[in-house]
């Protein structure tokens, strides 16, 4: 890493010890337990368990329900990632472009960053209330009878909107700082080389933002996959019913609500594998193409 490094027989271990200890106790231990229990069928109260091999996996993967949740998760993740990145980028690019008032815009756009997912869910719930939600009334103006909580697609759309809304500021901040680290002279060179701002964006700004965008891609996918839990939990009002849910919510529902430890663990392990594969894929194929410096 560094040209000159310290060498000491014990210091690095000392510095790593706290983090490693916590990771071992609170990450590896539970994770190993999860993997282990994914091969068992366990009585909820822990009175006994039966080894069932891979049947927890085959049960989950074979279930139509699980497959449809998986499909939704993919669509949801893709849309939330794409939209929140896109809108965040649009706003960041604009905020970066205007000189007058850019500080005010920045401040106003950043401060929603801190909203907790369940709070966003609460707002979504109220805004999309079937009877009195302003957004439902707004949709009605266009002849769209939105039935959030009843109609699967309507609910999905509402969830996506709320999840995207909550994530925009995060992307905004990171893209803005990414933009600000593009050398001014490169931008000026482009201003001389290219009249059209739009073209400049696609041919110069966007490729140069690629490292930031890649990082955000990972973060947003993680967000859509895992952190939207709070949004979904509040928006389904405690009843998943026919509402769209994501795989993580399903893990929680089956494991915590349903006390089906083996099944839920198997689903965790499946998610683990998916995330692992995704990460490897991202690093091998996408990151390789975006590193400049």
């Amino acid at each position: 890493m560094k040209r000159v490094q310290f060498s000491s027989p014990y210091l690095p271990y000392l510095f790593l010890a706290p983090q490693m200890a916590i990771i071992f106790v609170f990450f590896y231990w539970p994770s190993v337990q999860a993997i282990q229990s994914s091969f068992y069928l366990e009585d909820p109260f822990g009175f006994g368990s039966t080894f069932v091999g891979l049947s927890n996996y085959s049960d989950a993967l074979g279930s139509v329900q699980y497959q449809s949740i998986a499909r939704f998760t993919v669509v949801f993740t893709a849309l939330v990632t794409f939209l929140s990145l896109g809108i965040g980028m649009l706003l960041a690019v604009k905020a970066d472009a205007v000189l007058k008032g850019s500080a005010a815009y920045k401040t106003l756009l950043i401060w929603v960053y801190a909203i907790a997912p369940p709070v966003a869910g609460l707002m979504g719930m109220m805004f999309f209330d079937q009877h009195i939600g302003p957004l439902v009334k707004f949709a009605a103006l266009f002849g769209w009878d939105m039935k959030v909580g009843l109609n699967y697609n309507d609910t999905a759309i509402a969830m996506i909107i709320v999840s995207v809304w909550k994530q925009i500021p995060y992307n905004f901040i990171f893209i803005l700082s990414g933009l600000q680290s593009i050398p001014a002279s490169v931008r000026e060179a482009a201003a001389i080389d290219c009249r059209s701002g739009t073209r400049r964006f696609w041919t110069m700004t966007l490729p140069l933002l690629a490292p930031t965008a890649f990082f955000l891609l990972v973060i947003n996918m993680t967000y859509a996959l895992f952190d939207t839990f709070g949004v979904i939990d509040v928006m389904v009002k405690d009843k998943a019913a026919n509402n769209p849910i994501t795989l993580v919510y399903k893990v929680y529902m089956d494991g915590f609500r349903g006390n089906d430890l083996g099944g839920s663990s198997a689903q965790s392990v499946i998610l683990m594998i998916v995330v692992f594969v995704l990460t490897i894929f991202q690093f091998r194929f996408i990151e390789r193409r975006v590193h400049y410096n």
Partner: protein, 411 residues
Amino acid sequence: ATNITWWHGMAGRNGEVINEVAQKFNAAQSACALTPVSKGTYEEALASGIAAFRSGEQPNILQVFDAGAATIINAPGAVIPAEDLITGAGHPFDREAFIEGVRYFYATPDGKFVGMPFNSSAPIMYVNTEALEKAGVEAPKTWEEFEAIAPKLKEAGYLPLVQSQLTWQFTENFFSRNNIQFATNNNGYDSVTDTKINMTDPNLVMMFTKLKAWADEGYFGYFGAGWNDNQKLFEDGKAALWIGSSGSFGGLQKTAQKPFTAAFLPYWQGIEGAGTNSFIGGAALFAMSGKPDEENKCTADFFQFLTSPEIQKFYHQATGYVAITKAAYELAKSEGYYEKTPVAEVGIQQLMLKSGDWSKGYRLGFYPQIREIMEREYGRIFAGETSVEDAMKTIETEANDLLARFAKTAG
């Protein structure tokens, strides 16, 4: 004093009443100190209780709702049967002191109380009196009658019918109210092995076919699985009839914009033997095992305390949940409570209706998950994504899988 804890799934006003009950208990004696903790919803309370039990951190008392009863009762050694606990602590216990409707649901097949019935409810029909007057009709006793008056209610500008929970009100209690077998093995009481659910029962299919048809006609409104979305129209005076919980009475008094009364949950005249009592709803308290004797003693004391007529009456009146002992019912009655608030009596009366073979209770493992399957498929029926027959078949298949799985874990 010995400290004991009580995890429950009530919030809002109902949660506050629980706190008051606990305070009363703590004030009434000094040996024990009870701390109630809200764990969220019924489902979350059960889940937290189980998760805690696995790691030996369980509370002394866990509130478990009707749908979760099988899960906890079938777990051998997870709980001390309430009856054993109370008698073991030297208190007298008389099953007969409880009203008919609550005696079986949380008990063993031979009648021993495992759970201590606490907040008991029945699904009843709330009636917007103004709407009925306007339409010039009477509250329906049967669904046939409802079919007859629905067009008039609609004409009068009302949504004739809404409900709050299709699983509880139109599935479980459809079976009890119409006296139809819900599941094999004596509704699951006899054994967990090979218990099968009866979701494809033609009458149940008929009920939902009707509901869907009514919905299409504008006689019935379904707004999803959330309680709030459905009852809201009734509260706002836009719906004429609402199938809710007798326990909703307290809240409804605050939110309803129009005068209301209540009637029994309708049944089908056309089904033979229909009109029996409904399953008991709400929840019971369970004494978790693995606790020291002196704590169990306190739990027993508290259970005993709960059955006292004064406490029962207090809880009944504060929340709208029914009184579970005859003595408490009589006490309230004698004080003229039901004359002032007749709605409060509807639930008890419905629970005290004649009982049939299939209206005593059901005991199905993993039932909270089965309810989730039902909610999902019902949603799809009303969203027009599936047919009633297909939905019921799907529920039956998935539910039977779960039951088989439960049999394995519990066996």
